[in-house]
Symmetry: C2
Subunit: 415 residues, 2 copies
């Protein structure tokens, strides 16, 4: 029995998680009327309050209060306050998280931090298929002879990689950026702990989409993107998480004034800041952080289990619709069927993924492709509706059945 539009509308209305989250969903701008957004894995939706917050900080903060804003508008407190607002989504305590710098810079900071904590061990274990930027960060560290890299082709090879007892840190994408396969943190983190290696998780495709349990899993370190599901704004600062057992364990590789024990004492010598504060470096990105704060205020009121349930319902429905409506079109599901093994998006495998993505975008369905053949549908737990899923899959089906996606104008390079 296929899902109908009425079924999807019913799911939107009946889903208890949706009811809990309805108030949060109303806090977001719906974007261009008629456009169906499935790009929360790239840039999450904008909170309605962001423009007003930004206007206020531009006029009252930048133009008028100027330097006094550092204190009067709490700009110096932003990295911790923003981190505290999203901590529950990833299973962390408020003081475990800081917002600032880019994901890649944070990946560098935490890899180097792990190498210091675990010295004299100097092996970084990486999946070959980890997000390329994370791999590049590690390769440059190895190029500088600060670590040795050990690649695994599949997570099943991890026990063998850990066996020599020389691993400092294992750097994993919690969710694969192509297939959306989610690793089993609860099973893997203890395995690394037993091997004396730290675990470093990139949560870019899970934070703000599905519930993550860093503390419960005893995960050591994590980074994540601020501008995808977390809705911090285009190019928003990223976050770092450090388990408290390691927060005081070493000096940071990059020691800036915001990571000093007493920033405004202007002491000549470096003293690491208390706990995780030591991983802060330069002046907070105040304007970017104000944009982020619009989302942070929403997240504070979101129950991560309700968010997770809603995301499960949405993505299960999306997969069912794909198979019912387009099952004979050459699309193949490349994401796992079990929600506990998936991250924020649903990925399809299709030989013409790039032009099909272009065609969908031209028809108001904003998806993305990744080489060679992945079509990605980012599902936001707060703003995507089951009804939108139904509408989008109708458009997908029509494009596939008519062959319109093969029009030469859609053959340009994907983005």
């Amino acid at each position: 029995m296929s899902l109908s539009l009425a079924d999807c509308i019913h799911l939107d209305a009946a889903d208890p998680a949706h009811t809990d989250l309805a108030a949060a969903a109303e806090c977001f701008d719906p974007g261009t009327p008629g456009t169906l957004y499935f790009d929360a894995n790239s840039i999450g939706p904008m909170p309605r309050s962001a423009p007003q917050k930004m206007q206020s900080v531009l006029h009252a903060g930048w133009a008028q209060a100027r330097r006094r804003s550092w204190n009067e508008l709490d700009w110096l407190a932003q990295p911790r306050a923003l981190g505290a607002s999203i901590a529950h989504l990833i299973g962390a305590e408020a003081d475990d998280v800081r917002v600032g710098d880019s994901t890649s810079v944070n990946q560098y900071k935490l890899l180097r931090y792990a190498l210091s904590v675990a010295a004299p061990r100097r092996v970084i274990v990486l999946e070959r298929q980890v997000f390329p930027s994370n791999r590049y960060v590690a390769e440059c560290i190895a190029h500088d002879r600060l670590a040795d890299l050990r690649f695994i082709s599949d997570i099943s090879e991890l026990p063998a990689a850990l066996a020599p007892g020389d691993v400092a840190v294992v750097a994993l994408s919690h969710v694969d950026y192509r297939s959306s396969t989610r690793l089993d943190m609860a099973a893997l983190a203890p395995m690394m702990e037993q091997a004396g290696a730290l675990s470093l998780w990139d949560l870019s495709h899970s934070a703000g989409a599905v519930a993550v349990a860093l503390r419960a899993c005893k995960a050591d370190l994590a980074v994540g993107c601020g501008y995808k599901y977390l809705c911090g704004g285009p190019g928003a600062p990223a976050f770092v998480y450090v388990h408290p057992r390691w927060a005081d364990a070493a000096w940071p590789a990059i020691g800036g004034w915001m990571g000093h024990a007493d920033t405004f004492a202007f002491e000549p010598d470096y003293r690491p800041g208390q706990g995780l504060d030591r991983l802060l470096v330069g002046t907070p990105a105040a304007l970017a952080n104000v944009a982020f704060s619009a989302a942070a205020e929403i997240w504070r009121g979101v129950d991560p289990q309700a968010m997770d349930s809603r995301h499960r319902s949405l993505t299960n429905t999306l997969i069912a619709l794909f198979e019912e409506q387009c099952g004979d079109s050459g699309l193949r599901l490349s994401s796992p069927r079990d929600h506990a093994q998936r991250g924020g998006h649903v990925a399809l495998q299709f030989a013409g993924a790039a032009p099909l993505a272009q065609a969908l975008v031209a028809h108001g369905v904003v998806v993305s492709s990744r080489k060679p053949d992945a079509l990605r549908w980012g599902v936001h737990p707060l703003t995507t509706t089951h009804r939108q899923l139904w509408q989008a899959v109708q458009i997908l089906r029509d494009l596939l059945q008519s062959g319109a996606w093969q029009d030469p104008r859609f053959a340009q390079a994907s983005v």
Copy 2:
């Protein structure tokens, strides 16, 4: 013969540089009516176009175009475009400069880059009184045994510090953040070159205030703050400069996807980007860069020599007014008298600098203090007027003569 208010008004009208710059001055928001801002050394003024630009990017970019904005709004091109807009102010060519990350993170990148270029040399020479964050960055690098530090107490000690022939890089504040003393780049950079050491200049207190001649001086590397005189917005991204002879000379310490030779090919292995692009790391801070672009558009039309002349006239006038109006008040000029030896601000030495700064702020004159006894007046070449200088010094004189600055409410800690 003392300067009068009429003289100052005359200087504003007669100053040829001012005439050239009048159009640029009009592009900035004047801030709170009646407030006299001398904090461009902390947060520069806001371009009037910034709020409209930001509203546009929030609605059309973030809320509506979302992921398509990376290409349609040229967000990926921002780091180079913003750098090109300010390059002439620091004597660089358009391709020599990139905007992104914080000043301290950039200081880390360039110190590490210099150590790679100059290997096996491993000594970093620093002034003891360099801006503390720059010192902290270097100390953490040394703590990780990636360099040895050699401190000099005064720039006159530089030849002796270079003499052993083991110096990789000399990291200098071009302008001292307290006294505003500017080093002689034209004399010092060749000295370092002859000694086989790279020069790394922090331009935070000169870029956008006085003309800098990086290329002409054969300066090797530079960083600078985006949110002070450059008016990029609170916590704006900073910039890096690399002389083209070094742009391809080594791998970066932090190798992110934006510094890869082909970012969106998602190649498994790192290949450094062409030239200076390799020093980019993570996703550009798109919203922060849009704010910065408001200032960048203004800077593109500013002649650095006119800017420099105007700044000289303003700061010379400010010093004359201090001495004429407040010469018997215990204030002492701690900045050099020769403009060629000064940076963006004028510093006074005063035992009660912190409470006096508080009192001035309470009376609408926004200045700052730095421990133990520095009172700093940041002068912006585009927006400060000679008339404002006269008004501010009258308020300073009245506070000193009445002793009102000693009121207990001004005794709180300075910021």
